[in-house]
Subunit: 456 residues, 2 copies
């Protein structure tokens, strides 16, 4: 790994867009989680795909590791260059290249952020629905197969991408997919790159599906006597085919924290939050149907609001749930698990997770994108020498429980460093071997984000 | 390719489920199109994944080609064993393994047909929406990345599959994906196998997403003075976000043929056919919105029906459009093109296709899944020595026009033999090289459906 040779050769290409400054390297040493941290040897800020192609050819020649960096919001250590080398910061590649309103699609560079895109699209009456909460980049969302609260209605980033431009390990620029809604020709390279976490190529441009901003949006909140009742209501709502845009769960502890933090006039009990998109009549009908079903499962006080202010307050509270939980446990660290199970096992998974929390002696709040079966246990751990380790152990337990219930080790945060040990258990040895075969064929020198996805 | 050694070794494993009978080999020599035909050396009818694993290990050892065969409805020669060897007929693997109504999913063997599955699901109040028209197998649909009239609302088979079981070239049994709605862990092997046309593995089991049968279904038909008006109406309907379940176009020629064949009380003019799914109120509202938009684009006599009989007659006529066209041109052969363009280019693509038809001197009818930009030109060619060749040349022209308009060489029929020459033009050399790299890594001896997808 002759990184110094790569840096020397890259310097004339990138000028002051190549930095070995300690502070800049430090900000590229880690994402947002408390996972591993390691500084890259240099940070490079490319402005074009062609520059990245030149750089990767250099890196391959010198066997220099390359790790892409978007907004740095990864929770699983994806952006940490664990083997050193180059951190490739795509923040300057933030152009919105085209918006096609007749086709409901757009083309963006990988460094465009989710909020930047939606602000730009507002005048077109369009929006991009995938919302992981954080203001991550579209490239990062593709690399980690991100999703969020709207996935139950609009799908994840996997369904949102029509095509990609990427640079492979040897510097080849590849275009995958295209502008059409579907194509029945050739291997689905687009889906292969989505979720590959920078280990197969560096995504530089994305063709994205868009949606019209709904004519009407309504929100609702409903408390339940039991978690089981809330989950059963979700199952029936999904079976009934009500096209809910969002259906989110928060447990009693999270509600108590959010009520205090966001000054909500609600009761601390298991709660479902809804959002409905459609025509005014359609939204009202969806809400009525959802209310009937929640009532049949012990839901009380179904509160429906179409006013923007009330909706915004509710969803801001949902997005602030992390900060609300932290405020409820001052002096504690926080660690978010991310698992998903078939929805028929969701009540069991949440109950098992709660038992594990109790046994651990730690505090935790549970929230979930429950229409998909995806939930997060936000573990609050004391600032003691063993606090983080206890949280980590609890996370391992909860992931194992989800896998035993037919689930996946991550619904939306990805593998990175933190979930590598579960890949074998979730997918089995043959699938893992097939993944490694593909990796070896496309990046034989393992220069692309080494140390991620696979345990070495 | 020591096929005789493979047959000798496989005979004790399969007994009379291995056939070298001429008639059976002949039925496995081709799909439904007038593409190439070649008999396999033997046809094997496996009953389990384990049997296929044993067989593929044998085939790999002897370098014997293996081509999977489902219902034989391929229009692009996928099932033709162009290099001889074994035709693997999956029709005995037709068990519906599980239906999970809480999770809206099911697990089936690859030989289960679309209609078989939907008949089975009816008592659960569930349905599987992907409908390519033909009663193809679920395995075949996965292998060719099939879709159909419902794709505009429910997606293609790509979105419908949660996980797969497949046998790789060396006999390894691999499970991909799982039962969860989304997973952010590992390469998307499921999507890699979907559309790989039997060249990367033999799909044996599929975990599928299902949907609840809608409470209400409505259909509508609307004629237009011009094709442009019809297409512009489609674009506005999609932009408005009306969740149409089906939106199909038929040109004047097709309508004349269908009116005669299916005894429809309609006018021969450019026509849109709609289907709406939802609540009774929702369906009525969708229809009203669609009617308003069609009227603004010159649509006349928007006829809405919720009665099952009227709907069934309309959609049966749509599904019979191939036979209607053939009846209108007795003594002619028929050849269906399959292209897709961004919907903003759909009117231009159809106009160019019509010009090409006129220049060719052949007859043609045009139908399309226009919500996706996907359309078919059904070419009717005379039974003369050069008839089929003229149809083939016209098809090449139409595909080229679609590619020049940012489209794909196939929206749903796949590559097989017939579209191989367009793969480079649609995807470019780097993507094609990446596909070949994956193929070589996973099937180094090229025993899986050789001669498909890639030009040698």
């Amino acid at each position: 790994m002759e990184t110094s040779a790569t840096i020397a050769a890259a310097r004339p290409l990138f000028g002051d867009r190549l930095s070995v400054n300690h502070a800049i390297r430090e900000t590229h040493a880690h994402g947002e989680a408390n996972a591993a941290s390691r500084m890259p040897d240099a940070v490079i800020f490319p402005e074009t795909t062609a520059e990245i192609a030149q750089l990767l050819a250099l890196c391959q020649a010198n066997r220099t590791p390359v790790t892409a960096f978007g907004a740095g919001t990864s929770l699983e250590g994806h952006v940490t260059p664990v083997a050193g080398g180059i951190s490739l910061d795509l923040s300057r590649m933030n152009r919105i290249i085209a918006v096609n309103d007749a086709d409901l699609d757009c083309r963006v560079e990988a460094g465009v952020s989710r909020k930047q895109l939606n602000a730009y699209l507002r005048d077109y009456g369009l929006f991009f629905p995938v919302d992981p909460g954080a203001d991550c980049t579209i490239g990062g969302m593709c690399a980690t197969r991100a999703s969020g609260t709207n996935a139950v209605r609009y799908g994840t980033i996997r369904e949102a991408v029509l095509g990609l431009r990427a640079v492979l390990a040897d510097g080849t620029i590849v275009d995958t997919g295209g502008r059409v809604r579907k194509s029945a020709t050739g291997y689905d390279l687009t889906r292969l790159l989505i979720g590959s976490e920078g280990t197969l190529g560096i995504i530089t441009e994305i063709q994205l599906r868009l949606f019209g901003i709904p004519e009407a949006i309504g929100a609702a909140v409903c408390g339940f006597a039991s978690e089981r009742g809330a989950i059963d209501a979700v199952i029936e709502i999904m079976q009934t085919g009500i096209p809910v845009a969002r259906i989110e769960f928060a447990d009693t502890g999270q509600m108590a924290a959010s009520i205090a933090y966001s000054k909500l006039d609600l009761t601390a009990q298991p709660t479902l939050l809804f959002e409905f998109h459609g025509t005014p009549n359609g939204v009202a009908e969806q809400a009525t149907m959802a209310e009937t079903i929640t009532a049949a499962h012990g839901g009380k006080g179904f509160a429906f609001a179409t006013e923007t202010e009330a909706r915004t307050k509710l969803w801001q509270a949902r997005h602030d749930s992390y900060w609300a939980a932290r405020a409820a446990f001052p002096g504690h660290g926080a660690f978010s698990t991310d698992t998903i199970v078939p929805i028929s096992n969701l009540a069991a998974a949440i109950a098992q997770a709660r038992d594990a929390v109790t046994q651990s002696g730690l505090h935790a709040c549970i929230v979930g994108h429950v229409g998909d079966g995806n939930f997060h246990v936000l573990i609050l751990y004391p600032n003691t020498p063993d606090g983080a380790a206890r949280a980590w152990a609890l996370d391992r337990t909860i992931v194992g429980q989800a896998l035993d219930l037919g689930g996946a080790a991550s619904g939306e945060h990805g593998v990175g460093i933190g979930k590598r040990e579960f890949l074998l258990r979730e997918h089995g040895a043959p699938a893992l071997t097939m993944m490694r075969t593909i990796k070896s064929a496309l990046d034989p020198l393992n220069i692309l984000n080494p140390g991620k996805l696979f345990l070495d």
